[in-house]
Symmetry: C2
Subunit: 246 residues, 2 copies
């Protein structure tokens, strides 16, 4: 973890400038500023929430990539979804007490920290923000719906193509590429997200690379032909234009 630095004020939140995010009223911004209790910088690979643990905090992704996962008794891991800037992390754990999934940093990340005990104040005093929180929870649900469709019914090639396309899109929308358009994942991450073995994942990725749709680089990939990738993926599944920010 890097040393603590002075914290970003919500009024200066870089996300406000992005088209993807809805804007706040001045009142909401100042409330959020008081609601935010700090920031946390984590290195790639660190654990944000441990599987099975209760967290005293809710986080918001300021920059970087995370993923949520569940591990089976025998050690097999399933990645549930990836989180990008603007996503809420730990809402489930906050509302329902401990839950059985972990969260890990995929890249170096900066998170805004909120106290879970004060979430109810947000509901009490700023119902539009409360509505936005619910919106984000539903949007998360939508992502999982898509994931289930992929895991249950799509072929290896489609599944992987769709995942890569989604990651690429999220990176674009939130300006979250690593250097030179690279999304920072390993093939293990892809395998664990798709429910495939590492070997099978590798073969599928090599296939996509040989067809010129992507390049696999060290610990990441670059999309070479987004349209063809989207075609292979099969499903249009457009993401909402704009989303609330908390």
């Amino acid at each position: 973890m890097s040393k603590n630095r002075s914290t970003t004020l919500c009024r200066n939140c870089p996300h406000q400038a992005l088209d993807v995010f809805c804007t706040h009223t001045a009142d909401e911004t100042s409330f959020l500023e008081s609601f935010k209790i700090g920031e946390i910088n984590l290195d790639a690979g660190s654990t944000v929430i441990e599987q099975g643990a209760a967290s005293a905090h809710i986080f918001t992704v300021l920059s970087g990539w995370l993923f949520r996962y569940k591990t089976l008794e025998d050690g097999q891991r399933q990645i549930l979804n990836f989180a990008v800037p603007g996503d809420l992390v730990g809402l489930q754990a906050s509302l329902m007490g401990k839950v059985d999934h972990g969260v890990e940093a995929l890249s170096d990340v900066v998170l805004c920290v909120f106290e879970k005990n004060r979430l109810i104040e947000l509901y009490q005093s700023h119902f539009h923000l409360a509505f936005d929180v619910t919106w984000l929870a539903c949007s998360q649900e939508r992502v999982l719906d898509d994931g289930m469709l992929s895991l249950g019914r799509r072929s290896a090639k489609q599944r992987v193509a769709l995942l890569l396309w989604n990651l690429h899109q999220n990176a674009q929308r939130t300006h979250s590429f690593e250097s030179r358009d690279i999304v920072p994942v390993t093939q293990s991450h892809i395998a664990d997200a798709m429910g495939f073995s590492l070997v099978h994942t590798n073969r599928t990725l090599r296939g996509l690379a040989r067809s010129g749709l992507i390049d696999w680089v060290d610990r990441g990939f670059r999309v070479r032909d987004a349209d063809s990738l989207h075609t292979v993926a099969g499903s249009p599944a457009p993401n909402p234009k704009q989303r609330p920010l908390v």
Copy 2:
């Protein structure tokens, strides 16, 4: 659809009597009564929300079973989850405009109907209920998390055993058995929920039946040995004791 009958008042809601559900204050109950605009009775097999359509309503399950699903272009269907009494249906569609999943009645059902446009009033005037709505959304998310782990990483036998066990538990908690402890699903439903072919599902179910864990009856199953079923399923994954009701 059956003929409309006089509507259940929230103050007489049968769910209030069940241990699983939290209770409301008198104020909340009366607000919900004014919020509820009607009831709808549907026969087994009817569509509640069409895939890709926007719905003007939010529903609450008063009695019966539903399931949410997504269909691929080529007609393959993935069942995302099953809904039992107390579950919220259509929240996603309400908050995010149209979404790409459908909802269908598995058994005859009775749903309470709310106007989606008035949801914001609930957030404005009853923040505890708003909090409960978010709780339910998160709990839905948790169910999907489990589903993804199953689809991605569990063997056929485990997957099916766990699903049956969960369905059985939900039926118990909400008193939603069909006659004589039967959960009303076909093998097609199981197959579509598990991402398996019908044939493979049949073989897996026969296996469980031969081991004496379940009986398969016409259009449904009965759990014969819940503990062994749970053991085969492998994962404890206890459900929360109590949940809010809206």
